[in-house]
Symmetry: D2
Subunit: 345 residues, 4 copies
């Protein structure tokens, strides 16, 4: 921590700050400048709020210096983490494509889409059974029967499956039926849910909240690592800004930021990240080019009939064409399409 | 809903859109313009996603017209809702001051602060026992023992109490010990929690999420009203923007927007809304002047010793001075300080 | 400036940074911590970009500590600046109301509005003759004839006038006809225009840009003070955020931030700040309550006939009712309605 | 335009709105719905502000339907515009790399960088002589002597040059010495400058403002096209958001949005778009993958010695490696590296 004194601060005020630092068991390092004094602090500051100093007389501002994350930090673990999702590696030099319908609507629909995305080259099947919806009056997902459909379809086509958990009960069900738990953007700071997911020892896909900084995303992951679950994949899916040409603003530089700060893999969701079907494939290519560790894409064989988020679903042919472009893109960042090491069917 | 066709749309494409509308059991109203055709849609559109039309050939854009909220809407209930919190009315012409420590830290501290805010003129005592914290390594609140302290202190000083619930278990405990449940900004779109709170029949204080629009805030409240709980008080507590001189940007115009759209009361939290102690009182005055139905303010008798959010806590004297200014402000919007109709002690 | 080294930084890397600092004629203050080293820098850092250090090996981040503004800073001049606009004081304990039409449209309209705002109690007459419009096809203002109308009307009703300048030519004209130059939000970082306005020795009203931080607003003012013009009044008029219930998000806490950092007066424009007529008066009250030094409000006697920004203009009666509420509000922040010391007519 | 009435609107209020529409010479198309009435409007609405209707009794909201841009619109000109910059085509299937120092500092430095970027494969040389700087006390560029250096160096290495104009005088000088005029982000809504640039008949590079929507960017370009200058290249360079891991948030989806709405080329500036050297190359790849028409990249042979924006400059080797990756990327969007058709030296 660094404390910056006002230009008008008296020697007595500086002294008081230094005494306060000492009283907390920390060490003060005064730095006298031409115009003002600053005071560096060392020692174990974990338990000290910057605000302890902020309102002392003569203090202009308090600047936190150390970052609060530990286990997720690349400083703590320099090499990339590879998360295994029932045989499919995510992270390292593996680029994984998660694809499937926004919602599991029916066995037939799910199987149709699953076969199509499998054929197109996707590795992991996604599908929502518990849907967080802005309105209580819109389709909320099939619940457990949806997970059963997804599990059966996943076995049928030989793909691991991921589905979103919203609360304790749905988390138990997702843990029971799926290969990976998804924590959605709206729940990124639902710390109870994060702790429970951290206790499962299952791979978790954690989406960035719409108003979350990269640091907050990493801290949310830290909740799970602190519980002992290191199998966390992050996902950039757009942030909320003033820009109105997309539903969210996909922040691809966050991929580079995360990879610099953390060892965890990070994938990109251009479907929610743009909310517009015609922008999904271009932004997916951009995500691959920037160095993401994978993609999550919503696919529907007949988007005009989908019960949710139809505006952003691509058709299987679009996914196939995208995946065909990946071999040109992935080597640029030292990656290749993820290959299942052990197929579950 | 209104569908706007491109200038180049053919008559056949217009026809296809109209047929599609009819196929969904809705009624199409073509509006031929000089440059392009638009098509109004009437009928029960509740179950129809705009996206159903968005990717049809010749469609430029789809504009939703009806608002999705119903029970929270002022169109549904023109008169203001007054929520009774164990005898203290919130809403209508009553202006209620919620005050207390950020966290319940100890019986002595809580009682000291409670007596001070009671003396200063606050009506409802706030205090956190379950704290949503960005870092898993910082103080997370005392939990149930904290609620016991808060209940005992509330009885001692004769004030109803409100505390935040984070999940199913803490909701049960808050319901057991408190007079009002708080749902925090990070959980504004935790729909499972909203539904559970909606089932309690207890007053709920719902804080706006950092990236939530006014419409999303109202929809979150709608989840509780749809469960039968109409005792919901909303709270503006700042949104996330690029501005860096405050922790959040307090959006006071949201108060006016909510009051125009909804019958629910809305209060303002200038403590979280600014994150800076010296900005709390000025912004609290502004909230009263704009016509808010109350304030929620963090108070600590010794902010430099607080375990959380010390930077934004005011001292009791500052609260007292603020409340002394309210009689000059409240009549400007037809309000007066809320008076307890039945004291709980 | 403070340089924070990575945990893995070697002693040699630390040494290189220190040498680099010395080579620039500055003084390094190494602060060894438990986990990493930080290095404080003192000396005249005005000419040094933080980036000089940012890419050196072992550097984690560079934190600027000193603020870049000088003349606008309250540290440089502790007492409040009072700007005299042809006899009307703005700043200090004077609260000034700027009001008038968005655009000068015709002599009759301008005079009607001017008489109404004068009667309502406003002190300074505003009116646009040069309008920055998003579209080249909408009404761009009357230009010089508009300024002539405004000047004549100002003399007629005995009010100083302010109007916006967009470029060198319009600045000359505004300087010729008006008592105060307005620099609009879109030109807040038009540094050429700021310099020219700084050379005029006339009062300037500088509006905050839609994406400007408080620091950038102060730096824009610094451009004028650096040219020798200290008569600068700042204006908060809303920033661009994701919130869609208002045209901009009025950031009232910026008033408190500016007053803490600078001696310059700051007024609030709730007309552009909300873009909605029914939100103007509530937010104007809030601005007075927070401690602003004045208001700028668009008024039209018949908003439905206005050629520009009709959605946000209030009618004279609304302005009059607002001004009647000010005597209850202003004493709360130690202010009173500004009284002209010398009328220009 | 579409006018939505409140549920409680009376038949008389609907009638008044319809009369008002007729009085303006427009045609009303009432759409009676189950819950409320909406009224479509056709006719030449160019001169009508939505606000004319917004405050009529019974009106809930007014929704503009037509887009305000004309000449920049793809509806007006379906085929892509190719802008020729002294022999170098930008747009269509040509991908152009603009590179060079942030500022022209000295002949030697400029020539060194120019030779390096030419060798690396860039087509157009950029360099600032007039720098818009937040602080009046930092380096503001060399002015005309800088342009002379840039022109001489451009001739020496055989590259067309682009430099930023800030005002009328610098525009004249840039027009005199350069092949293309740059209008920076801070001046995107400096309409006087846009009009002057529109009168030059020279290629213009227009950067998106930090708080500008895609529609506002297109409208700013419309100012130039309306003056008769169709040689406009747009540039996405990051918007201002809450995200703090980059200086701005590079909004790559804006590229797709612009290309759908307009025929003008759009390039991407990852240097300002990220503000961090290590993020420039990954985001440049992403821009190429998304389908941008080119890149603008700041290069310095010794970033640690640069006088401005050193944190974001890449070294020539990084640029060369990036350009070597382009042949793998560009065919994915049907593009190839732009080849000069006529060298200017």
């Amino acid at each position: 921590m660094l404390i910056v004194m006002t230009m008008a601060a008296t020697a007595k005020q500086v002294e008081q700050v230094i005494e306060r630092i000492a009283a907390l068991g920390l060490k003060a390092h005064p730095i006298p400048g031409a115009q003002r004094v600053a005071i560096g602090i060392t020692g174990n500051q974990g338990a000290v709020e910057p605000a302890v100093f902020e309102n002392l007389p003569g203090v202009l501002e308090v600047i936190p210096v150390s970052h609060p994350y530990k286990l997720v930090s690349r400083e703590a673990k320099p090499e990339n983490t590879v998360v295994m999702v029932s045989g499919v590696p995510v992270g390292g030099d593996n680029f994984a494509v998660f694809a499937g319908p926004c919602s599991v609507e029916a066995p037939e629909q799910t199987l149709t889409v699953a076969r199509a995305v499998r054929k197109a080259g996707a590795q992991i099947l996604r599908g929502g059974a518990f849907k967080p919806r802005t309105s209580p009056y819109t389709f909320q997902g099939l619940g457990e029967p949806g997970l059963v459909i997804l599990r059966d379809v996943g076995r049928e086509v030989g793909m691991p499956i991921v589905s979103e958990a919203l609360d304790e009960r749905s988390l138990e069900l997702v843990t029971k039926y799926c290969d990976m738990i998804q924590i959605g953007a709206r729940n990124m700071q639902n710390y109870s849910l994060l702790r429970l997911a951290g206790q499962t020892r299952m791979p978790v896909l954690l989406k960035r909240g719409m108003a979350a900084t990269v640091e907050e995303l990493l801290m949310a992951a830290e909740y799970m690592l602190a519980e002992g679950n290191y199998q966390v994949v992050l996902c950039e899916r757009g942030i909320r800004t003033f820009a109105d040409h997309t539903r969210n603003t996909l922040d691809l530089a966050a991929v580079v930021a995360v990879q610099r700060l953390s060892h965890l893999p990070i994938i990109v969701d251009p479907s929610h990240g743009t909310g517009k079907r015609h922008k999904v494939v271009p932004m997916a290519r951009a995500a691959a080019a920037v160095g993401a560790d994978g993609l999550m894409i919503e696919v529907h064989h007949d988007p005009s009939q989908a019960l949710s988020d139809a505006a952003q679903a691509v058709v299987p042919d679009e996914l196939a064409q995208l995946i065909q472009q990946l071999p040109a893109l992935l080597p640029l960042t030292g990656r290749h399409l993820s290959r299942a090491l052990r197929l579950s069917a």
